[in-house]
Symmetry: C2
DNA sequence: GTCCCTTGTATTAGCGCTAACAGCCTCCTA
DNA sequence: TAGGAGGCTGTTAGCGCTAATACAAGGGAC
């Protein structure tokens, strides 16, 4: 490869100053007179000098890099989150190292180790599950700035997240207000806030005096449109009197909608549908789908703010859990407009 | 933050060996006898040692990091590409530094400089446009491994990409075969392969003896569903006798479909629709949409292979342009099945 | 003219690691 | 028993940069 690497030394040789003087001049130190500074800066420009960030990091002990750990991105909302985070971090002068855990606990641990080895200044993590946060807690205790992008009040690590429980609650309450009492749940499995969604669902039902009914509960293997379609088929086959359904992601809600279309059900008259995340395709579906909005901007902004606050902090600040109240966007699929 | 950093020195102090011996032992050098090696490795484990990748990079002159430059991710296909790339690079021991250019030329340049400054081993770039590749060509000439993820045969830089021109050609030929001659084009502007798509469109028409008609051409500002919807409205308002439409992305195709639904047009009888990228939501739309498949797996695999080959290469290998022939997936929106 | 202070610069050390080399044993061979 | 060969480990230097310190020259105050 042999790239032509221009170092401070080369500028020093060219201008006749020492490496240290060049370093100071390029950093606009007042200790170097203006004339000298300009001359050195011009020489640097002429040589097309680019500072070696690696060497700088070794000295300064900060890389200005943060690690973003995601599970596999099947859910479109995660990509929006990732992009928004990258953008906000870039604004603050940080680059984003990116890795996916594939929803596997061992992989998640390995990825975090890699990031540590590369001396990232902090990490934003979508953990695989809520039950296994010990390794992340240890990270925090070791003084590593970490913010989880999903979590609960008992995480013992900083969290900035959409309040999925409240989202589930709001969605179901909305359906109950529209007169539904047999409300299905297409769940998302153990991953990423779905236990909270399920919990919100259960509480809203309970508050209305409606008991949990396993016959109304489906847990597909994936989060895809197809998974939603099949879950809907399964629920309908059970002949459970269902008149409304809540899906843990909009993709699955779209799958459910598709099933109703193909089987001659009218939405919302025969079947009301509510999804999660409020992705673009939910709004523009054949029947626009009501959805719990993810508030990507607020979540990512607060998460990045918090992470940078942790990086700048001295000691080990108190854990802060920020759950953002999500809005329900009512559309035709649940009788809106 | 003051994290407790364990260095080789700490292991050396604990075991009584020198730093160098420790370093060799941890790298399983045959020059260190087995017993010593084991003992040192255990000590390292006990201290929870993690090698400092930054320091290693400074010496080895490789960071095992590659930079991925994307335009803004509104197009869902880009996120799939990004994820697939991250995965393949991870398999080969590389981490992915991630940055978006926002479709701005200056930002693109700045991002590339940042990556250089951070000594990435190579870059994968979705350039903003095809007309401004000079800075990337210079990168290549300076010996930097670069692969473009979109491009044309005259790029003078390595390219691995879907053959968008051929995709456009195939889509239009398909529509012509189904009897259409007034075929609209909802274009994607100058960005990311859309000039090629347009060119394919024009050639297919020309081959069938049909002239280009500006009245059938719309160029929305974005790639969103809404943009497709509005472009469709604009095309229909022109009263141009259009019976089929090709959209440069599936998102826009979905917008076009939505317009037809709201205005009582039957698809495909009154209006055939074909999109690009074959995203999940195209397949499961109210009327499943025909689409040119992106072949994410092949593109990303070949791109990563090529990049790593360039990284390992000695000199400056010949430019290699790989355009992958895309398949047309015919669905109901253009009369399939 | 001495002293001190400022100004501008060079020198040195060190970040954590690797690579090249040097040195000291022990053991074998002639 | 001298001499060499190997095995094992330590020493030194250097990656490109920054920070601390040293130092030389010039200018003022007394």
């Amino acid at each position: 490869m042999g790239r032509p690497i221009v170092r401070l030394k080369d500028i020093a040789d060219k201008t006749g100053f020492s490496v240290n003087t060049v370093s100071l001049a390029l950093r606009d130190s007042p200790r170097i007179p203006q004339d000298t500074r300009l001359m050195i800066q011009q020489a640097a420009e002429a040589l097309n000098y680019l500072p070696n960030h690696i060497a700088k990091s070794l000295v300064s002990r900060e890389t200005r890099t943060i690690g973003l750990v995601l599970t596999s991105i099947t859910n479109p909302i995660l990509t929006r989150v990732a992009q928004a985070i990258e953008l906000r971090l870039a604004e603050r002068g940080y680059l984003t190292l990116f890795a996916t855990s594939n929803g596997d606990h061992q992989d998640e641990k390995k990825v975090i180790e890699m990031f540590r080895s590369r001396q990232v200044d902090g990490m934003l993590i979508y953990p695989r599950g809520h039950r296994e946060l010990d390794h992340i807690r240890r990270l925090r205790l070791a003084g590593y700035p970490v913010v989880l992008l999903v979590g609960d009040t008992d995480a013992e690590v900083d969290v900035v997240s959409m309040d999925a429980r409240l989202g589930g609650y709001k969605a179901v309450r909305h359906l109950i207000e529209r007169g539904h009492s047999r409300i299905g749940l297409i769940d998302g499995g153990q991953q990423r806030g779905n236990l909270e969604k399920q919990d919100g669902y259960i509480r809203a039902l309970a508050d209305a005096g409606i008991a949990w009914d396993a016959a109304l509960h489906a847990v597909p293997a994936a989060h895809s449109v197809m998974a939603g379609y099949e879950a809907m088929a399964e629920l309908m086959a059970r002949d459970n009197g269902m008149t409304a359904v809540l899906a843990a992601t909009d993709s699955m809600a779209l799958g459910a909608l598709r099933w109703t279309q193909q089987h001659g059900l009218r939405v919302p008259q025969d079947m009301a549908i509510v999804g999660f995340d409020n992705i673009e395709f939910a709004e523009h579906a054949a029947t626009p789908i009501s959805s719990i909005d993810y508030a990507v901007d607020r979540v990512t902004e607060l998460a990045v703010d918090r992470l940078i606050a942790l990086i700048r902090a001295d000691g080990l600040p108190e854990v802060e859990i920020t759950l953002i109240e999500p809005e329900l966007v009512v559309r035709a699929s649940s009788g809106g407009r």
